[in-house]
């Protein structure tokens, strides 16, 4: 393979990864890292470094739209970002200290867990009843948004802010350790844990992912794990793929496609685990 071929393959593989990722509501990272490491034999640290910067691109692109639509709860995002960025620093720090094979194993486990999480019904646990909890009241986390499907303003009360912070620390740590957005952990922490409406949870999670990724990206960059030759084409590819995915998303709401992807994710996660167990 020549260097040009490598760059082009990285670019197109990342387009596919970004495309599938955005269809599944995952960042591109869960798809791109296995592709880079298993198929192209890229060092896992370079793959993680490339993925973490790509996530910033996709999250920022999507967040720009969400903020304008006022779907994002900026207060909830800011409070929780304290936990996700601290978690991301912890994860990014640990990533530089543990062997590559452990990264493969943790990645395999998190990937399998994410696949299973995708099967859960997207129940909307939000409600406007009850008093909220003292922390959520003090921080004025409650909010409202305009629901296009219901054609009315929906207001909601937030509960269990501290539980949310704890879960977000873990989500941030996984993000920093594995170079993924970990939206699959962030969304349930908000909609099931803190009882935000699912649409607000998704928009807020997407908004937070970029900030979380930036916290560990700084670490990875300074450490020399962001290889421009790999991260460049991957970042461009994931962004292009995610943009295409966002376009066709409305037309592709087939449950069957979702199940097929879940099976694929499970198979790939087993391969990542196996690679970790075998060492090199």
């Amino acid at each position: 393979m020549t260097a040009l071929e490598f760059v082009l393959i990285c670019f197109f593989v990342s387009i596919v990864g970004g495309f599938i990722g955005s269809l599944l509501g995952l960042g591109g990272g869960l798809v791109v890292i296995p592709m880079l490491t298993l198929a192209l034999k890229v060092d896992i640290r370079y793959a993680i470094g490339a993925s973490i910067v790509s996530i910033i691109a996709t999250s920022s692109g999507a967040a720009a739209a969400y903020v304008r639509e006022r779907m994002t709860n900026l207060r909830v995002a800011m409070v929780l970002e304290i936990a996700t960025t601290l978690g991301a620093l912890t994860g990014g720090y640990l990533a530089g200290r543990i062997a590559g094979r452990w990264l493969f194993m943790v990645f395999g486990i998190v990937m399998a867990a994410s696949a299973v999480m995708m099967l859960r019904k997207r129940r909307n646990a939000a409600s406007d009843e009850g008093e909220g909890t003292p922390w959520a009241n003090y921080l004025r986390l409650h909010g409202s948004y305009y629901d296009g499907a219901l054609q009315k303003e929906v207001s909601y009360r937030v509960v269990r802010a501290r539980l949310g912070l704890g879960l977000m620390y873990i989500a941030g740590m996984m993000s920093g350790l594995l170079g993924i957005g970990s939206g699959v952990l962030k969304v349930p922490a908000m909609d099931l844990g803190m009882r935000l409406p699912i649409k607000v949870s998704t928009a807020t999670s997407n908004f937070m992912i970029g900030v979380t990724a930036a916290a560990s990206a700084g670490l990875y960059f300074a450490r020399g794990d962001i290889n421009p030759f790999i991260a460049g084409p991957v970042a461009a590819g994931i962004l292009v793929g995610a943009m295409i995915g966002a376009r066709v998303m409305g037309r592709l709401q087939n449950a069957l496609i979702r199940y097929v992807f879940v099976v694929v994710l499970l198979i790939v996660s087993a391969q990542m685990l196996l690679k970790g167990l075998k060492g090199n």
Binding site: M1, T2, A3, L4, F6, V42, D43, Y46, V53, I56, S60, G61, A63, A64, A65, V67, R68, R70, L74, R75, M78, V79, I82, T85, L86, A88, L89, G92, Y93, G96, L139, R140, G143, S144, E153, G210, V211, A213, A214, A215, S216, A217, G218, L219, Y220, F221, A222, R223, G224, I226, N227, P228, F229, I230, A231, G232, P233, A235, A236, L239
Partner: protein, 144 residues
């Protein structure tokens, strides 16, 4: 965001709320411009790499040096800037990636303004904390 149900963008809304809406528009703009600019720089840098090193188009051996563990590329601010001044492709790509990393950081910094306008001490403090954590990541990475 506000629970009182009134539309903060309407002229009847208090001036603080209108300023907040303006900050949100700026945030949305920062994110968009940040992503587009950084990716344009990345692509330009990639093209430069191949212009400066035509042997990469044909030789397979150079690929190993670039992608395997221990590859040499700029990863400190001074290396990146000195390389970029000499229009080295890798350094230009790195500038683009740094711009991308700085996009959410700028976004957080702009958000601080929104809370200052609202005279919201608690949230000014919370957002400042997030910004400090973000800036710390670069420092910790350097210290290692």
């Amino acid at each position: 965001m506000t629970s009182n149900g009134s539309d903060p963008a309407s002229p009847s809304a208090p001036p603080e709320d209108r300023r907040v809406v303006r900050v949100e528009i700026v945030i949305s703009w920062v994110l968009r411009v940040g992503v587009v600019t950084s990716l344009a720089v990345v692509v330009a840098g990639m093209l430069l790499i191949f212009v400066h090193h035509p042997e990469l188009l044909t030789s397979a051996t150079r690929l190993q040096d670039l992608t395997q563990r221990g590859a040499v590329f700029p990863h400190t601010l001074s290396e990146v800037f000195q390389g970029a001044l000499r229009t080295r492709g890798e350094a230009i790509v790195a500038v683009g990636l740094l711009l991308l990393i700085l996009t959410p950081v700028t976004r957080v910094a702009v958000s601080i303004l929104a809370f200052v306008y609202q005279r919201d001490r608690a949230y000014t403090f919370i957002t400042l904390t997030v910004l400090i954590i973000l800036l710390m990541s670069f420092v910790i990475g350097r210290l290692e």
